[in-house]
């Protein structure tokens, strides 16, 4: 059997350090998710308004964030803001800002899509039954929108967790960075450590994302 370098995992606190790194990644994604979901719902609802100015501004924001690779956004916020405004942002803060900007944009588009996929007749048949505007949203529109939205937003959460692997580029020590450090430190003693360590990283991401995407699948099936 080839040497997979698995023993490095068990050396010292290596495993705990990796898990700690995952913790950082999850913390950043969790904070971003908690902030960007309500913001995205708000912006998404605004996007369905007829006001052309609101629409244009939100559209511009969405397209800008979408076209820009996340890495460029990270560099822009982390390095750019220091040069331009003299802000001293930590890598973590910069990551959270970028992830909130990105998550809000994606979420608002999901909300807009879900809302506009509810046919106009659903509003009308509800109003024709005598339901008020508030009741129409409460009993008819929001429940249907949520059913479409929850699986999609859970997928967004897993995408955000996975994308945290980029933030090592602005010096945040998350799981991938810890992995690289461990591999570097053991270059002489176990030159094959790369395989074992990255395998562990893969498993950690898998364990974090798999239950979430199973939940999305379950909800999608249940509400079909």
């Amino acid at each position: 059997m080839p040497d997979l370098g698995l023993e490095v995992l068990l050396k010292g606190k290596n495993m705990m350090r990796l898990i700690g790194g995952l913790g950082i990644a999850l913390k950043i994604s969790l904070i971003s998710v908690v902030v960007s979901i309500p913001l995205g719902i708000l912006l998404g609802a605004l996007m369905t308004w007829k006001n052309p100015i609101t629409k244009a501004i939100l559209r511009l924001y969405l397209e800008f964030i979408r076209i820009m690779p996340q890495m460029v956004l990270l560099f822009l916020v982390y390095f750019g803001s220091t040069r331009a405004f003299g802000w001293d942002l930590s890598g973590e803060t910069a990551s959270i800002i970028v992830f909130i900007l990105w998550g809000t944009a994606e979420m608002s588009d999901l909300v807009r899509g879900a809302l506009s996929s509810i046919p106009k007749h659903q509003y009308e048949s509800s109003e024709a039954l005598g339901l008020s505007k508030v009741q129409t949203y409460l009993y008819i529109i929001i429940p249907q929108t949520l059913r479409r939205l929850i699986p999609l937003s859970i997928n967004l959460i897993t995408r955000m967790i996975k994308t945290t692997s980029l933030i090592l580029m602005i010096g945040v020590v998350e799981v991938l960075k810890v992995a690289q450090q461990i591999i570097e430190a053991n270059r002489m003693a176990s030159p094959n450590a790369a395989f074992g360590i990255y395998l562990a990283v893969f498993l950690l991401y898998f364990l974090a994302c798999w239950p979430i995407s199973m939940l999305a699948k379950y909800l999608e099936k249940r509400w079909k």
């Binding site: 046919p119 009308e124 048949s125 024709a128 039954l129 005598g130 339901l131 009993y139």
Partner: protein, 256 residues
Amino acid sequence: MAEELLKIEHLTKKFEDNMILDDVSLTVHRGEVIVVVGPSGCGKSTMLRCINALEPIQGGTIEIDGQQISQKSKNLTELRQKVGMVFQSYELFPHLTVLNNILLAPTKVQKREKEEVKKEAMELLDRVGLKEKADSFPRQLSGGQKQRVAIVRALCMHPEILLFDEVTAALDPEMVREVLDVMLQLAQQGKTMVIVTHEMQFARAIADRVIFLEGGKIVEDADPDTFFDHPQTERAKQFLNVFTFENVKHKTAEEN
């Protein structure tokens, strides 16, 4: 004559510069069944939608039971409860079961006792032959079944007047019958109804009065026998001719 239930006076409706309804006046008495016919785009559906204030109007007035209804009415939801509407595309709420579709408005809007409404809903479902579908979801029903549920949903609000907007237009022929039968039953019970339809035989069977609408104006307003046998205007004659076919095969056989 019974009391006036719906009174439309000089109703004008425009979409931008397009005149959809042009000075339409119509009075419907309690217990009357009015069938509205006319070529597509003549404003039939729009007229129904105006009665329920689903469309803003540009002129004239609509009164239900003596109270004026418009999108600006303060008691709009209260007035809409007097008007039951059934749409061409059923528009059941897909996330609710058949029973909950029916219970929603009576319990949330009229704040009636759930058990009492449920009992009534089950009786009505039974009458349209759908009692066993109470716990199904709309997606599990056929078009004809959905439309019958939509009628029950409207009925459970105890409306004074029922509006039917081409309710069989999206249905297969054999399903058309089951929906029309329910409507005939309602007419027998003395319900007040305004029906937009393309089913001419049905119109003749159910109507107390037939309204022929063309270019946003009421062109004829007559009892069904007069309208179908002796239409007064050239336009109505042409319209009715669309529904009769000459027997082509038989003719060629004679000529040979």
